[in-house]
């Protein structure tokens, strides 16, 4: 039984994301909050929280600048710093004790690594503490000269299949927006057994530090997140909704109830909240309340009714003309 899902007073929009029932459509994105039970319990408005990207062994991440602010956006080049699977497993019981559900965001450089990590989790007997396995397809693979798993449908199939073979629970494939053909990649992920697709991850960008004349980041390219990318996320949702038989989970730029509703109407069954938590950890609660009010004002019984309505002529929301 969940211990204390902190729901706001108003109408709580719960959702089913495929087989997963969530008390809120909002999910804390990976890499945003610390693995700290106090912080987890204090977040209201989200039931599911994605862990930092976890690798088999600890990683120090990238040297040099890791953050760079852009207009309404953030470039990051953390480089998957994390304490490794063992420490994650040590923390896991404490984290789930908070009443939150956990999505393990997994980064990996080979399919063997995926299998070994899942094996270790089963061996520890804590697989039931993990509600979702979120595969980060934006990380580089060791073969293929560090090319990104999710850019290629074949590699995507390999990675998701490896996880599917070794994991009984729900698998979300977190797509990369750098995929040359995201529809084909999405279909491969589903074919390989993904139960949901996270659309998507950071967009590659870059910056120059004009004071030094050097790239702002040692690795030149870095991941762009935050409100700036919202319209790009919405486009990907429009491209993928209806093309795959699994739910879509939005990730990229959602910061308000309006943004979340846009993503839902464009096809998302749930919505990850990332960068905007850096501004205000109270945002999910406000978003959830805003969604609640929206549903109430229009007497919509379930948020699931709104999923993808933009593909279905607005589904009767369109009262009183379009305006501009």
């Amino acid at each position: 039984m969940t211990k204390s899902f902190n729901s706001p007073k108003c109408n709580v929009p719960s959702v089913s994301v495929g087989p997963l029932m969530l008390g809120s459509p909002l999910v804390v994105a990976s890499g945003i909050i610390p693995m700290d039970a106090d912080v987890w319990s204090s977040i209201e408005g989200c039931e599911l929280i994605c862990s930092k990207g976890i690798t088999l062994y600890p990683r120090k991440g990238n040297r040099g600048n890791r953050l760079w602010e852009t207009p309404s956006g953030l470039l990051n080049s953390i480089g998957l710093e994390n304490p490794g699977l063992d420490v994650f497993m040590d923390c896991l019981p404490n984290l789930t004790e908070t009443g939150k559900k956990v999505a393990l965001n997994m980064a990996f450089s080979s399919t063997e690594e995926i299998k070994r990590m899942l094996d270790l989790i089963y061996k520890r007997g804590i697989s039931s503490l993990i509600s979702v396995l979120e595969l980060n397809l934006s990380c580089p693979n060791a073969d293929g000269e560090g090319s990104i798993w999710g850019e290629d449908p074949g590699r995507t199939f390999e990675a998701v299949s490896a996880a599917r073979d070794a994991w009984d629970g729900i698998i979300w494939a977190k797509l990369t927006p750098q995929a040359r053909d995201i529809e084909t990649v999405a279909l491969s992920a589903v074919e390989a057994g993904a139960d949901g697709l996270v659309v998507a991850n950071t967009w590659l960008g870059a910056a120059v530090d004009i004071k030094t004349g050097l790239p702002a980041f040692d690795r030149v390219f870095a991941g762009l997140s935050g409100p700036a990318v919202l319209p790009l996320t919405i486009r990907l949702l429009f491209k993928l909704y209806g093309k795959v038989p699994v739910p879509l989970i939005a990730s990229g730029g959602v910061c308000s109830a309006e943004d979340a509703l846009e993503a839902i109407m464009a096809g998302a069954s749930a919505v990850e909240i990332g960068t905007c938590l850096f501004r205000d950890m109270g945002i999910p609660k406000k978003i959830l309340e805003g969604i609640g009010r929206f549903l109430e004002d229009r007497s919509i019984g379930s948020l699931n009714e709104l999923v993808g309505v933009a593909h279905r002529g607005g589904h009767g929301l369109n009262r009183g003309g379009r305006g501009f």
Binding site: I32, V39, L67, P71, I78
Partner: protein, 263 residues
């Protein structure tokens, strides 16, 4: 009551801006903030998403429930804060970071060394921890002198704590930089808490190694979350350890600090 990452609406109740240097911002939080010296806040001048991130500023003092910030004019974010009309809204995430943790006092003096706006995070320490000297080193000139005077009006320094203003141009009693000023004091068994420009911190760390006194240094990094989540601010510590400036820091004992991480 504010938890470690509460987001608190505030209003700017007064400000004093000194030319292109920066200024003092007195900010009224709409809920109480309980903080300790060394902690900081992330300031958001508006609900706009540009600039996106908060600006970290040390909490310098509390005056009638208002928080005092010293803000150097650096770029866009600090510019917006300094140019805001009184009455404007600011949101803060606070208190963030670990309070300054003075090692159990043995015998030597406690000396605070603030370089420029780095003084901010130290100003409240003498009131809660018996301090022998507080050095404030800055460039000098009229604007700096006015800023320093106005600022010291806001903070209560106990009698026992000597305040030494050091300026490079001799505007103050002591002519010289922060290191010179520090060296003018008796550093035997001392503990020095320093915050300011990288060059000064390197000098303090070097001196402490040579002469064997203890130091705590305030480290700066770009920050996104301010509460240990994003790992944007994490640094190497000695002994192959990692630490987050926003969470375990911003003040670290000299013996843990890897020289390269003072940027």
């Amino acid at each position: 009551m504010s938890c470690s990452h509460a987001s608190i609406p505030c209003s700017l109740v007064s400000k004093q801006v000194f030319g292109s240097l920066g200024g003092l911002l007195l900010v009224r939080p709409h809920e109480p903030v309980s903080w300790k010296p060394g902690q900081f806040a992330m300031l958001f001048p508006s609900d706009s998403m540009d600039p996106l991130l908060g600006r970290p500023l040390g909490i310098a003092s509390e005056v009638d429930g208002n928080l005092l910030f010293l803000c150097q004019r650096v770029g866009r974010g600090t510019g917006i804060l300094l140019d805001m009309p009184v009455g404007g809204s600011i949101r803060i995430n606070a208190p963030l970071g670990s309070p300054i943790n003075i090692p159990k006092k043995e015998k030597g003096p406690l000396i605070l060394l603030g370089g420029g706006f780095g003084i901010a995070s130290l100003l409240a320490l003498p009131a809660v921890h018996s301090t022998d000297s507080m050095i404030w080193a800055f460039r000098g000139g009229e604007e700096w002198m006015e800023l320093a005077r106005s600022c010291l009006d806001f903070v209560s320094i106990p009698k026992g704590c000597e305040v030494l203003l050091a300026s490079e141009d001799g505007s103050t009693e002591f002519r010289g930089n922060g290191i010179d000023a520090m060296n003018s004091l008796d550093l035997c068994d001392a503990t020095v808490v320093a915050c300011g420009p990288a060059g000064m911190l390197r000098g303090v760390l070097g001196a402490s190694k040579q002469r064997g006194f203890k130091v705590l240094l305030g480290i700066e990094r770009r920050m996104a979350c301010g509460l240990g989540g994003c790992l944007g601010c994490s640094i190497d510590l000695k002994g192959n350890k990692r630490a987050r400036v926003c969470k375990e820091g911003p003040f670290f004992p000299g013996e843990d600090i890897v020289d390269d991480e003072i940027l």
